[in-house]
Amino acid sequence: MSDPRWSEALAHLPDYLGNHVRVSVAALALGLLISLPLALIARNRPVLRGTLLGLASIVQTVPGLALLALFYPLLLALTALTATWLGFSFSAFGFLPAVLALALYSMLPVLRNTITGLSGVDPAVLEAAQGVGMTPRQSLTMVELPLALPVMMAGIRTAAVWVIGTATLSTPIGQTSLGNYIFAGLQTQNWVFVLFGCFAAAVLALVVDQLLALIENGLRNRSRVRTALGGLGIAALIAATLVPAIARQQARYVVGAKTFTEQYVLSALMAQRLQAAGLPTTTRAGLGSNVIFDALAAGDIDVYVDYSGTLWANQFHHTDIRPRAELLGELKTTLAKQDITLFGELGFENAYALVMPKKRAEELGIHSIADLASHAATMSIAGDYEIFSRPEWAGIQKAYGLTFRAQRQMQPDFMYAAVASGEVDVIAGYTSDGLIAKYDLVALADDRHAIPPYDAIVLLSPKRRDDEVLKAALRPLLDKIGIAEMREANLRASGNDASSSPDAVARWLWEKVGGK
């Protein structure tokens, strides 16, 4: 417990846990609100029942992460529609898509158990309900539902545990959750965070499950005390997470970060600068590459660091490659059309580069990507989750006629060790990564300029366009962070000790670039 990472993790707990509980409870409530009436309508209609259960089962087979990710573009399209036709828009980021996806995820066990519970009621009892003069509605509320309740509760318990577990995957679409520990920990090799996040999510799931079990037990044995105790426990849990949220309601600056180490460090650095300027700031880390830009455009986050080549190729779908200054100028104009401010460059470039062990490259006489082309057919390459589907990769392949024997995707931080150990022959790494030096690797020259420039640039959301306080707070960072500093910062952040947390590295970096 002497490791400061534990206390750092603990400091995040009210925020992460509170958000996690809120999104889970909202999702479960919505799920119940939809599933219960559907189950009631479907129970005596075999076709509808089969269709519903089938659909719910299909939803269940979609991996949680994909389901969550799918809701983001869906809502984005929807908000564009409502903005056009109904004159209002809503945030397609974070809470809403997470709640919708998780609610959908919770439906199967609730639907199945409600239908099973209701159809399991003894027909003789139903007959008796009719015989004593109950209307169909009275029969449902006075006899069928009370008798089916224990089975229904079991379904609700299953749904609750699923939702709480899956909610950890809502971090990449911008919903803060206990998943923030896990995603941040994985990216920065902070295993304390990963463990903490898993543990917290497991404890939360267990506590909620036990409280619901208490209610279920109370209902089964018709014990009002147990039912009330369980209900009180759930209510207390919700209240405990709502109170701080209400108390903290105020205008906040939100710094976004993508899913890799450098982004965690830079977002921490910017957040520290904003806080030093007296601006209340939070970070939303672990956002997907495509989610983060839309989130900025929609004003869900205020500022983040992107890379010129990434925007050029992925966001604006250019296939040609321009010289760096020209590309930046063009980007600035294009972004301004969306009311997004390209505030400035940080001073370093984080380009994709094909990287292999220095020794092996020398043995084979490979200095550039062109040299690699003749060997590629016998080699395997590893890259992060996006590179092989990005337009830049197609550009590189085309320019050099590259075809590898095998392509593998892995967690960026593991690639370097993989290529150093010979697990793969080449990796698509990042030029600003400190691990290139650490593992004695070499980045191959791109003589044909197939890889666009990737200057790190600070982007501001439309509503912060004229925010002078924000700009003044971030200005000291512009053109100050060289490739050497960034590499060392990244290397430090990929360590697995107390001084390697993004916050600690950000403080180191600030001192390094001329802060007090």
């Binding site: 003789a124 009719q130 004593v132 003069g133 008798l147």
Partner: protein, 262 residues
Amino acid sequence: MPATPLIAYAHVGKSFDNGRVVAVDDVSLDVAEGEFLAVVGGSGSGKTTLLRLANRLIEADRGRIAVEGEDVSRIDPILLRRRIGYVFQSGGLFPHLTVADNVGITPKLLGWPQAEISARVDELLDLVRLDRAQHRDRLPHELSGGQRQRVGVARALAAKPRIVLMDEPFGALDPLTRDALGDDYRTLHRELGLTTVMITHDMTEALLLADRIAVMRGGKLLALGTPAELAANTDAYVGELLRTPRRQAERLGALLPRDGTA
């Protein structure tokens, strides 16, 4: 026989499965006020269908059924059922409700005040000879089969009906309990001035409890009359039904001669 029967079936027919199965075939039958009628028949004879037509748990296809002089097809079935007591096979109690709540269910549906329901429940538990203090708050699964059926009878009587329909009420009980319950019910029937229609497959029970017996076979009403009238009936099936009780009576008379003289 009084002028207006309390329940009157006139040329009633009911079939299931689009006419493939004829459950009740052109049955006409009057039940007089205060009468205890037993309907006897094998399984599939249509006796249960006939009973349920009276409170519209099943709707008739043909003919007319009148209860207390009113055509049932013109009465809201929910209200009709609330004014007719119904005792189910093996109780049909609601497993999640206490004895008191089971007994008080129809008055509750009728919107009686809670205090009145409570007093009525106590009165009924006394009537069916169940100790109030001991049984009031129990759940059905904590009762014996006989006690459950007593609660079932109490529930049927709760809203002070004039008519009680009973669907093989004592069929699942052991002979001693069955005998005691049958006797107790017969007493209630007389004291409360009820009109009772009871379904049974047991001719002995029918003979011992009922004023008149209706014999059903293949959906048709085969015979109707007092035990003595049935004994004079020449129909082979009726004779067969009476053979068992007769033989039992003879053998018991021979085996237990003192009983006969008591």
